[in-house]
Amino acid sequence: MVETRSSSTFSYAVFRYMKDTKREIAVPIGVALWSEDAKWVGFRVVSSDQRVSRISRKGDFPFINVFAQKLDSWLVSNHLPYQDQTVTPTSDAWWRHLQKLLIHKTRLSDPHPIDCLDPEKEIESLFREIVSPEETEDRARIDHLITQCLGTKLSKTLRRGEVKGYAGKPVEVMRCFLGREATVVIEGVNLALEDAAVAADALVGKLQRVRANGSIQPSPDHRVIAIVGYVASDNGLNGEAFLKDWIEKAGDATALDVHREGAELRAETENAMTEAGPPSTFDLI
């Protein structure tokens, strides 16, 4: 028997950026999600601090930014140009009308139905799935490399998901193991990219937040063993060695090259899990 659950009808549509109008070559740059029943509407468009394949920072992002500003103002004012009837942004009619207005660089697909249970989460996952900003692609690649280093059995023991961080709020990590004595966190970072310093800083901040469970200071009752797999430049660390040191010192982590130190990464993880003890039944999110 199928369990019944109360639900609202949701629709979504995809924003596409035209790279070549003549050949109708377009790149997905955002999504919108709405429901008349749930009186919910939201959109998510790629921002200039994200990278999307074939979208140029200088040539394309200014157009996307202008479009996002206009969409925002239309949603706030609850009105679209050339709109005679009163329709709300939670209706398919509003988005169908918007579709007719978007005739230049940014276009909108037809509305599509979706079985959405949590719109806040859904819009994020739709955005990640359809737009695939490069940070996601890159993270998926590192995740894959770390999985290879760990091997099948260890990868299965280390679950993906969230651990409790500062103020008891969840922090998403690449992989983790919650032991009775400690929590093991496996993370990844690409130090070969131009903005590796930004990624390293973000990672250190994340590890600090994981450690500060309930307080701004690391909690002695909540020991965290952090292991970071990093991708280095083709010939090994090339001017970014200081970032590895920074992660190790400020993030209190062990950082290992996923290409050159795969066996060490695996051994370090096994040791960490032994130290963490048997699985904990608490603190699961």
């Binding site: 035209m18 003549k22 200014p62 202008v66 050339y82 007719k100 005739i103």
Partner: protein
């Protein structure tokens, strides 16, 4: 005359929400389409006296704005053959019956986004909005603030230039343009509408001086009115029942009165935004 092109292949609607429902049409330079598929244009296949008035408005006002140094789209006359018209009329996508003949088109641009700009921060030269407002006031444009009537093309440093993109409702709107009330409407009409943040642009980019400078440019352009009127295919005047000499006389007179209409001195005071009284 404007450059002539020949409608070859319809590529679908351009802006279905607007009055004249422009189409994307590939147009060739040669009548036999030996250079097919040609180049993509946006064609306004407007019909009836009001439609012909809209096309005249496009040709004349676009030329005058361009003479003033404003960015505009490249205008063309597009000739629709018997065969193309018949094909259009068999297609349910067309909102009205198309007759063979000459219509207005612009070169399609795929490197622009629709305006109006959301704020002056995105513009490379916000001052060009002042000039556009002054020229719009001169030619009696009624709908510059409407979505798509300014296009945005990317300039350097991630900012945009404004392109005046739709001049079909100058001369107090195409219905008034082809009516007996044109003279009275042009004599009574005040400043044109513009972007919501125009007062800020005026205060930040020259105030009365910028308005007076643009009025001077209108005076220069007013000497070229005959040239602009001469670009209109003769049969459009007949279809719209508009007298070209009357249009010239009205434009020249309005150029002389622009200082009174726009009252630049009012922008010297802090409440100068009150000077922007829009005629409806």
């Amino acid at each position: 005359m404007l450059p002539l092109v020949h409608a070859y292949r319809d590529d679908g609607p351009m802006a279905d929400t607007t009055r004249w429902k422009p189409r994307r049409v590939f147009c060739t330079l040669f009548e036999d389409h030996s250079d097919a598929p040609g180049v993509l244009h946006v064609a306004k296949l407007a019909v009836g006296p009001t439609g012909a008035a809209a096309l005249i408005s496009e040709v004349v006002a676009t030329r005058l704005l361009a003479i003033g140094g404003l960015k505009t789209l490249d205008s063309r006359v597009v000739r629709v053959s018997d065969g193309f018209a018949s094909s259009c009329n068999k297609n349910s996508g067309y909102p009205w019956r198309i007759s063979p003949g000459e219509y207005y088109a612009t070169l399609h641009r795929d490197d622009v986004e629709a305006g109006p700009p959301p704020s002056c921060d995105v513009l490379a030269d916000p001052g060009e909005l002042i000039k556009l407002w002054v020229f719009d006031t001169w030619v009696g444009n009624v709908d510059r603030e409407v979505e798509g009537n300014i296009l945005l093309s990317l300039a350097g440093s991630g900012k945009f230039r404004a392109i005046a993109a739709d001049q079909s409702d100058c001369f107090c709107g195409s219905a008034t343009f082809c009516s007996s009330t044109l003279r009275e409407a042009m004599e009574r009409r005040g400043p044109s509408s513009s972007v919501s943040f125009l007062p800020q642009v005026i205060f930040d980019h020259g105030g009365p001086h910028a308005i007076r400078k643009a009025i001077g440019e209108v005076r220069y352009a007013s000497h070229k009115v005959r040239e602009a009127l001469g670009l209109v295919p003769p049969n459009w005047w007949v279809q719209a029942n508009i007298d070209a000499d009357q249009v010239r006389e009205l434009l020249e007179a309005r150029a002389d009165r622009l200082e009174d209409i726009l009252r630049p001195s009012q922008w010297e005071v802090s409440n100068g935004g009150d000077a922007l009284i829009i005629n409806v």
